[in-house]
């Protein structure tokens, strides 16, 4: 890893060449260099948001294939004078013009809907507006006729007779093709031309999707540059130099180009969800490059003028490279969890977010240092030798954190519990229209049509029977009618049309309009003959040619997922009451979209659980302790709890966009924790105390952490300007969550660290205890190599030059020492003469009883250059808490050493009684170094 990190400073030109080459290749994935055509497109289709429940999709596709689309574009014309001849002529003209459009399959309006009128023996079959009356009485009569029609009254014409709908059904085109054709705009133009004084509204799924696509494109063109500008300003403020701003911005631009280029090369488009990837890359790229540049500027400030540039870069990268790599891994873990989400759109987002973060980390660790290595050193250190306001704030804050750590931890736990409770109020929601703000014209038009014309949203209840001509049987038709009556009585339902309505209408007309015959045909033979007579395209949309499959078209005003789910459940329950030979399915685009709700909820739980699990494992490995891993996880889980609590309290729903925030916040927030922990650990070792380390660590990390959080928050807040509510909510919530994460990182994290000593993985990997420490150092006997290092890292390793006095007889003693390298001489003075007791070499404990007795009983001198591992009583307490098994073994070893020393001493005492004047040299292997 170190060698990789050093490449950029050693070979900057080569690194930059490779980066620029890769960037050129990436750009070719975005724009075709030969034709200039944009490869990377925005795909507005909502298919990727639909559930992938194969059974549900299969049913929907089959029913749609047979009976046609359930998603018309809805035009509505309204006015008090709607039923005036000239306005009715407008409807006819507009219908004709719409039907002339190549994308349009047919239009259902008053100009095409068939009216069957019976008078004595005459039956008239013609559209309502086939002959437009002129006199007020005839116009009123026509209005009454339409309203009395059970199929069209209330749907094509509102109950007050002042609004009429034109339902435009399209040929079999995909969402993408339809939107690219610009049909929405053309229809609008035609409608505007014909509306006269009438009010005009437009809605329906095709319209909403078109407008959403346009909004996405506008957003993309506006928001990414907007975020980049904000970040640029932040960088100038942070570094007070344009270089300090341009370098991270270049890093961001390259990372973005690589990510978007990869999407283009793989043939992917930016969809409703993946359009959030670019802002994410911009903000994360800012964070990573900020750390690199900040570290470099700090190093330059400390080194002073004239320092070697490349060495400065190398040192900076050594210090910050591994944390960036690890923060990259943890952020990736957050997004990796999304790649198993049930929704295709979210899985895609997860994949490209992972790719983007990887690229960003690589570019930050290659391009940025390579450029720094080539550019001249900064002329002035940023904030050189003067304490900045931020650092002063950090000092006060760290003191506060240290003093009140108990309260801070307690309050944090309380917040966690409260927010967890608020999470139970979280609602999950989907829907094309939900993505729009209430004030938007898309939403307003939708509400008008929804209210006046029985509902914009439609779905199907499809019936099938294996019995031949089942839906010509009166008994089955009665079942359908009863179900339809029940359905119409539901408050959410604006209307329901089925073959029963047609059969009853035709029956009445063939019986001279007698209302008594507005009834289900009494026999199957009659029903079949009525169908023969009434054969039409309208009927084809309700029943198949064998009368074994029939469709009930339902209109509803509701678009809220929760209410729709409740309605569907109720319908499905009612459908269970049908005879066994009639199968039924509730289907339609909004039904499938509603199933997505379940997928989102399930996917969210799954994603967060996986992300937390991975991050926990990474932290535990990093800090070589599952317990410390848990401690480190707490400040990262708390922002997630706050996020879900905010959702529950604010009423903002969990939808495909907002469901991305939790994993993103987890991945991003953990970065700051790791940077803080790493710095704290280093400083705690140097100072051998936590309090100063709390302060010094916060002083160092507060600038990059604050600026990156501010940049992230401001960047996400730019999204609140989006026309799309889903993006605005995403921006607001993401900013809130990351802001909370910052607050937690500068209060809770220091409070947690104040009472721990952390051993990090890289410390363990780096620590050199010589060869086979677990077998050559008596204190580490029966410990594994890693365990030996853990013990060593709980203590403090110090070097002493040869000849240095280590301690003297009678000094206070609160630790034991282990010789790692070199030789220590133990001696004491008696009657003015120095008596050499022993020489202690590698692996021996010096003063095993001193920690208990509290006093040195001899002098110790470094006979050569030595390394001594000091372990205090406090260290042993921490070891016992953190690594109890290791501590138990260390105590056993210590007891054994003491026991051996005592035994040897007793032997010596015995010998002394025999020859009181003989001082035998003590073989170090005898262990007679009890003195010390």
């Amino acid at each position: 890893m170190s060698r990789f990190l050093a490449i950029a400073s050693k070979y900057p030109v080569a690194v930059l060449t490779v980066v620029f080459l890769l960037t050129a290749i990436a750009l070719c994935g975005i724009v075709d260099p030969k034709t200039g055509a944009v490869r990377l497109e925005i795909d507005p289709s909502a298919d990727r948001l639909l559930t992938e429940d194969h059974d549900a999709r299969e049913v929907y596709d089959r029913i749609r294939n047979l009976f046609g689309s359930d998603e018309p574009l809805v035009l509505a014309l309204a006015g008090a004078e709607l039923f005036r001849a000239e306005n009715l002529e407008r409807i006819v003209r507009l219908t004709e013009q719409l039907e002339a459009l190549p994308e349009v399959h047919h239009v259902l309006s008053l100009a095409t809907a068939t009216n069957i009128k019976a008078e004595d023996d005459l039956i008239e079959i013609a559209p309502f507006l086939d002959e437009i009356p002129r006199s007020p009485a005839e116009l009123a009569d026509l209005r009454a006729t339409v309203l009395a029609n059970p199929i069209y009254g209330g749907s094509l014409l509102s109950k007050d007779g002042q609004s009429t709908a034109l339902l435009v059904y399209f040929n079999r085109l995909s969402d993408k093709e339809l939107i690219r054709s610009g049909i929405d705009r053309r229809i609008r133009a035609l409608a505007d031309q014909e509306r006269g004084d009438l009010e005009l509204w437009m809605s329906g799924a095709p319209h909403v999707k078109s407008r959403t696509s346009e909004a996405l494109q506008r957003n993309f063109a506006r928001i990414v540059p907007g975020i980049a500008c904000i970040i640029g300003l932040m960088l100038v403020a942070a570094f007070r130099s344009f270089r300090g701003a341009l370098l991270p911005l270049s890093t961001i631009a390259i990372s973005l180009a690589w990510t978007l280029g990869a999407m283009g090369w793989f043939g992917h488009s930016l969809n409703l969800v993946t359009t959030i990837v670019p802002p994410l890359i911009v903000t994360l790229g800012f964070a990573y490059s900020m750390h690199v540049v900040s570290e470099y500027y700090d190093a330059a400030r400390h080194a002073g003028p004239g320092a070697d540039r490349r060495e400065l870069v190398a040192q900076s990268i050594r210090d910050v490279g591994l944390p960036i790599a690890i923060t990259g891994i943890t952020t990736i873990a957050g997004f990796l969890s999304l790649t198993v989400n049930p929704l295709a759109a979210i899985r895609e987002f997860g994949r490209f977010a992972v790719l983007g973060i990887t690229f960003t980390a690589i570019v930050s660790l290659t391009f940025t240092p390579a450029m720094l290595a080539l550019l001249p050193s900064p002329k002035r250190g940023v904030g050189a030798h003067r304490e900045t306001p931020l650092q002063r704030f950090a000092n006060r804050l760290s003191d506060f954190d240290f003093k009140n750590r108990g309260i801070i931890i307690g309050v944090s736990v309380a917040i966690l519990i409260l927010m967890a409770a608020a999470t139970t109020e979280v609602r999950v929601s989907t829907g094309y229209i939900n993505g729009w703000k209430e004030s938007s014209d898309v939403r307003r038009d939708y509400n008008e049509i929804n209210e006046r014309l029985g509902g914009v949203n439609t779905f199907y209840v499809a019936f099938e029977s294996p019995v031949a001509e089942a839906f010509a049987e009166p008994a089955n038709l009665r079942e359908l009618r009863d179900f339809q009556h029940w359905l119409r009585a539901q408050p959410e339902i604006g209307g329901a049309t089925s073959i029963v309505d047609y059969a009853m209408l035709i029956n009445q007309s063939l019986h001279a309009g007698n209302p008594d015959h507005f009834a289900i045909p009494a026999t199957k033979r009659l029903a079949m003959q009525l169908y023969l007579f009434g054969a039409s395209d309208d009927l084809d949309r309700l029943v198949d040619s064998r009368y074994q499959k029939t469709n009930l078209l339902v209109r509803t005003r509701i678009q809220d997922s929760e209410r729709l789910a409740t309605l569907i459940t109720r319908i499905e329950e009612r459908l269970k009451g049908l005879p066994p030979h009639i199968d039924s399915n509730v289907t339609g685009s909004i039904v499938l979209l509603n199933r997505t709700v379940d997928d989102i909820a399930r996917g969210q739980v799954q994603s967060i659980a996986i992300a937390i699990g991975i991050i926990y494992l990474v932290l535990s490995a990093m800090f070589t302790s599952f317990r410390i891993g848990l401690v480190a996880l707490f400040p990262n889980v708390l922002p997630i709890a706050i996020y879900f609590g905010a959702l529950g309290l604010s009423g903002v729903t969990l939808n495909p966009a907002t469901s991305l925030i939790a994993c993103m916040a987890l991945g991003v927030a953990v970065d700051d924790t790791i940077h803080y922990f790493a710095r704290f650990n280093r400083d705690a070792k140097r100072a051998a105390r936590e309090m100063p380390a709390t302060r010094s660590a916060l002083r160092v990390v507060i600038r990059p952490v604050t600026y990156t959080t501010a940049g992230l928050c401001l960047g996400f807040l730019v999204l609140t300007t989006s026309e799309l509510r889903s993006h605005a909510e995403f921006g607001m919530l993401a900013a809130l969550t990351l802001g909370a994460a910052w607050l937690i990182d500068v209060t809770l994290t220091p409070a947690l660290c104040a009472s721990v000593r952390i051993v990090t993985l890289w410390d363990v990997l780096r620590l050199d205890l010589g060869r086979d420490p677990h077998s050559t150092i008596e204190l580490f006997q029966d410990l594994g190599p890693r365990q030996a290092r853990v013990v060593a890292l709980m203590g403090s390793l110090k070097r002493y030059p040869g000849g240095e006095k280590l301690f003297s007889e009678g000094d206070d003693a609160h630790d034991i020492a282990v010789v790692i390298d070199g030789e220590v001489g133990i001696s004491f003075v008696r009657d003015g003469s120095r008596v050499q007791m022993s020489k202690i070499a590698r692996g021996k404990v010096v003063g095993p009883s001193a920690m208990a007795s509290g006093r040195r009983t001899a002098d110790a001198d470094a006979l050569t250059d030595i390394r001594l591992l000091h372990i205090t009583a406090e260290d042993m307490v921490r070891l016992r808490h953190r690594y109890p098994r290791i501590a138990a073994q260390v105590y056993r070893n210590l007891n054994r050493v003491q026991g051996q020393r005592i035994a040897t001493l007793m032997d010596r005492i015995g010998d002394r009684w025999r020859d009181p004047f003989e001082f035998l040299p003590i073989d170090p292997s005898d262990g007679d170094s009890n003195r010390g």
Binding site: R62, N65, L66, F67, E96, E99, A100, L101, P102, H105, H106, T114, A118, D121, L122, I123, E124, I125, A126, P127, D130, E131, N171, E469, A472, L510, H511, P521, T523, K524, R525, L526, M528, Q529, L530, Y531, L532, F533, A535, S536, D537, L539, D540, D544, S545, R546, Q548, K549
Partner: protein
């Protein structure tokens, strides 16, 4: 000229007189050939129709058609359904008038004859892919509106004249134009392309060339199909037991006969 002729065209799907037309024929000659291929007085035939929906499911309809030209030169047409059993006896009677045809429907299950004023010519006939208007055009080939010749075409190895017909505005057609491919040899319409607004092909009628047959002086295609390209449905019709210029009593073409027969 109206629906009576139109329905006749469905029955026979014919074109002009036996000798066919020369390859350099004019528009008028082709129209004349088509006209002369029509039976002089009567025709009777059984029609077997298979009607396919979007999913490819089909239902079968068998009907017998009687056509007669009266002394006033106007036509009468009776179509009586023979199968399936539930529909047996249902009948349509079309009496051509100068201005507009009178249409009557009889449904045995209702037990009464009703006069039907179907102003919508684009309505489906018996649930098939043929509309009233389609029949009218197929019968007349050259209706109201403008006609022009297109380039000669080959249909299944047979030379065909192309007549391009654009209905007049007064007709109120659902089509912007119809291209007829008239067989040079038999004057049977081998193919008809129906174009919607914007000259978009919406329907296509195709006659199986191997089913070309003759009854008396009249050529016809026994098997034809109509495909609705928008809805992706189609109807296949097989004409059987074709008799031309046989005796059919006048009283058969009356509303009372509809009731009596059933």
């Amino acid at each position: 000229m109206g629906r009576a002729r139109a329905w006749f065209a469905l029955l026979l799907s014919l074109a002009v007189a036996s000798p066919g037309v020369a390859s350099e024929a004019t528009l008028e000659e082709i129209k004349q050939c088509v006209h002369e291929n029509a039976p002089r007085k009567t025709t009777i035939q059984r029609l077997n129709a298979n009607i396919f929906d979007r999913a490819g499911n089909d239902r079968r309809l068998v009907a017998k058609g009687y056509w007669k030209r009266f002394e006033d030169g106007l036509f009468r047409l009776l179509i009586r359904v023979e199968a399936p059993a539930d529909l047996r006896g249902a009948a349509y009677l079309i009496l051509e008038q100068e201005e507009r045809s009178d249409m009557f429907v009889y449904l045995p299950a209702v037990g009464r004859v009703r006069r039907v004023n179907a102003r919508s010519v684009s309505g489906s006939l018996f649930g098939t892919d043929f509309s009233y208007e389609d029949i009218d055009h197929l019968q007349r080939v050259s209706g109201s509106g403008t006609q022009e010749m297109g380039a000669m075409a080959m249909i299944d190895g047979r030379k065909a004249h192309v007549l391009i017909n654009r209905p007049s505005e007064e007709y109120g057609s659902a089509y912007s134009k119809i291209d007829f491919y008239v067989d040079q040899e038999t004057c049977v319409v081998l193919r008809a392309d129906f174009f919607g607004e914007g000259d978009q092909l919406t329907k296509q009628m195709v006659a199986k060339t191997e089913s070309l047959d003759r009854a008396g002086h009249t050529w016809y295609a026994r098997e034809i199909s109509m495909t609705d390209l928008k809805d992706q449905t189609h109807t296949e019709v097989l004409a059987e037991d074709v008799e031309v210029d046989v005796k059919i009593p006048r009283k058969m073409f009356s509303t009372s006969a509809l009731l009596r027969r059933n």
